[in-house]
């Protein structure tokens, strides 16, 4: 029983999930009690979306081992489709139904595009796939940038480069937070669960050795497509929520730079490490937005210097050793070890005592 409990607590899934839940609990308390500063209120939505986007991109880059540079494209497909649905139904449906519905529709639309991109991309590997996904991301951006709705009930809502007018569906963070919490927890949970399943093992097997995976009976095509579709679905859902938090959305925001930003988060968080992506998403988003704001004009310069320093450190052996020595997991392990050690010595002492008597 004791070891069972220990395993449960040390379980990576449980640890990550409870960490995120705790974080959001604190956020909830702050937001709903009115303690949160304006700045904090502003960053909750983008950070949560970045977490979902990074975790879903990690599915492609970290688990499947394919470099995708078009993740922002999938997000914007979901964003624009979902938000249009939401705008169209704003008078008909209450928010509690409208937002989840538009999220699902946005996610499905993004997944469909993921399928279309994934099909030809399956024949490509490495750099070539990166180029194709990069191109697809740009195509999506530019297509949306040139879309106009001129007739019908939604006339004028979407007007090319002027963007999507989301004023009618704008929701403040107090309204969006529950949806964000559910989405982040759901995505993190699902991705962590997949990792420890038959399907996750197959995906990671393809990453480690495609030829051996094929010879072991794994349908590589199926799994590559599945990962593409799933990642696009999650990205699309995050996009829909993102769209609800602003009064105007321009597709130009979600170009190459945005995809690279997400990739940086995944790389710094650690390939295939979900909790890493979550932490990196929070840190790397707040860094330029809050901490480096002091530097004003030199903000992005400072940001890139910080990125270089992190990159150098992550390859540094001594830093790694130091990092391992202070890692949370180790700390937990130590705590439990000392506790069980105490328990063992106690029982030993008892037995010893029994022997003596």
């Amino acid at each position: 029983m004791k070891t069972n409990l220990k395993q449960k607590l040390l379980n990576k899934t449980a640890l990550t999930m409870s960490g995120i839940a705790l974080l959001y609990l604190v956020l909830c308390l702050m937001v709903y009690s009115g303690m949160a500063s304006r700045q904090l209120l502003l960053v909750i939505l983008p950070i949560s979306c970045h977490i979902v986007l990074a975790v879903s991109l990690n599915l492609v880059v970290g688990f499947l081992g394919e470099l995708s540079l078009g993740h922002a494209g999938f997000m914007s497909v979901g964003l624009f489709t979902g938000c249009l649905v939401s705008i169209a139904t704003v008078d008909v449906l209450p928010m509690a139904v409208r937002i989840p519905l538009s999220m699902i529709i946005g996610g499905v639309a993004a997944a469909a595009v993921g399928l279309v991109v994934g099909l030809p991309a399956l024949r490509l590997k490495g750099d070539y796939l990166a180029i194709v996904t990069l191109g697809c991301g740009e195509i999506i951006k530019n297509v949306i940038n040139n879309l106009h709705i001129k007739k019908g009930p939604l006339a004028g809502v979407l007007d090319g480069a002027l963007g999507l007018n989301t004023k009618t569906i704008y929701s403040n963070i107090k309204q969006l937070l529950p949806f964000l919490i559910v989405l982040v927890l759901l995505v993190v949970w699902v991705v962590l669960n997949i990792q420890k399943s038959r399907h996750g093992r197959a995906i990671m097997a393809i990453r480690d050795n495609r030829i051996a995976a094929e010879a072991t009976g794994i349908n590589v095509t199926y799994y590559k497509l599945m990962v593409f579709i799933l990642a696009a679905f999650f990205a699309g859902m995050a996009g829909v929520l993102y769209g609800h938090g602003f009064s105007i959305i321009k597709s130009a925001e979600f170009g190459y730079n945005f995809s690279i930003e997400l990739l940086i988060i995944v790389v710094f968080g650690g390939m295939g490490k979900v909790h890493g992506s979550v932490i990196a998403a929070i840190l790397l988003y707040t860094l330029p937005e809050i901490v480096l704001r002091e530097f004003s004009d030199y903000r992005m310069l400072a940001y890139s210097i910080v990125l270089i320093v992190i990159m150098l450190l992550s390859e540094n052996r001594r830093f790694k050793e130091w990092k391992d020595s202070v890692s949370l997991k180790k700390l937990f392990k130590k705590m439990f070890k000392s506790k069980t050690a105490v328990a063992v010595t106690e029982t030993d002492a008892k037995e010893g005592g029994a022997d003596e008597s």
Partner: protein, 285 residues
């Protein structure tokens, strides 16, 4: 499948179109694997030509030949990594033409690789569980939620994987990272992973490469045990003649992409063409 036609090959009558190694013994059995006149060209180069071979159930067959003879190419043909330019492959009476490598594996062909190909970032146990992939019935929903029978499926897979690892005395390594294993253990793990797919024929590509004599001896025992325990056929490419001659019941010799001899170990040892292929022609003086 019955053989009706026979052709003369060397001094023996051999069933046509198959290439039974020891016809007298294998004729009445349904072959597990039957390669018929396989050939493959890479551009203008013919890597393998007119390769016919039959492997019966529970037979240990050897495929030998000098370096560059096309042995690994044959394995790649048998697993549809390369699709043959000519000829046909039958597995238990079903053709593998047009199938993918993964489908051929599901039809009962498992293999190992000359240069070890493990899923090195996964644990030893997970490597074996990848092999159990198609046996597990966990659907995507239960994988995503870890509900709806997930626990039962994983438990069964864990038990089966540990059982298989135990067969090679590797269950103590189950939670190590596969890439960190010593060389010999990596080779064994590859075999375990292949066995996990419950094959009817196991193809081993140079399983004894880089092993010392005692490890080779252990491997020999293991191959026999695999055949006896799982009741499957084993076909191996190997350069270690001692190993090949002592465990193989039939041997096929390949040189320059062509079969130059087939037969029992004794016949192969005495075959002049084989000796020529390995050692060169005797000069007349």
């Amino acid at each position: 499948m019955s053989h009706k036609e026979y052709v003369k090959e060397g001094s023996r009558m051999v069933p046509y179109p198959s290439g039974a190694i020891v016809p007298e013994r294998d004729l009445n059995k349904t072959p597990v694997l039957e390669a018929m006149h396989l050939g493959i060209d890479f551009g203008g180069l013919t890597a393998v030509d007119d390769f016919s071979l039959t492997v019966g159930p529970t037979e240990i067959a050897g495929l030998i030949g000098p370096n560059g003879a096309g042995k690994t190419t044959v394995f790649n043909l048998l697993t549809n990594v390369y699709h043959p330019t000519r000829g046909n492959i039958m597995l238990n009476g079903y053709t593998t033409a047009g199938k993918t490598t993964a489908q051929v594996n599901q039809m009962g062909v498992a293999r190992t690789f000359q240069n070890i190909r493990l899923f090195s970032n996964l644990s030893v146990l997970d490597n074996v569980k990848v092999g159990l992939h198609n046996e597990m019935k966990e659907n995507l929903l239960s994988a995503m939620t870890h509900m709806f029978g997930y626990k039962k499926q994983e438990k069964q897979a864990d038990e089966r994987a540990l059982e298989l690892l135990d067969f090679f005395h590797m269950s103590s390594l189950a939670y190590d990272e596969a890439g960190s294993l010593p060389y010999g253990a990596q080779r064994r793990l590859e075999i375990v992973r292949a066995l996990a797919t419950s094959p009817k024929i196991l193809l081993l590509d140079e399983p004894a490469a880089g092993m010392n004599p005692s490890e080779t001896f252990e491997l020999m025992e293991n191959i026999r045990r695999i055949r006896d325990t799982f009741g499957i056929a084993v076909m191996l490419i190997e350069h270690d003649m001692k190993l090949v001659m002592s465990i193989c019941e039939g041997i096929c010799v390949l040189d320059h992409g062509k079969v130059i001899a087939k037969g029992t170990p004794e016949e192969i040892k005495a075959n002049t063409r084989v000796i020529e292929a390995y050692l060169g022609k005797k000069t007349e003086e």
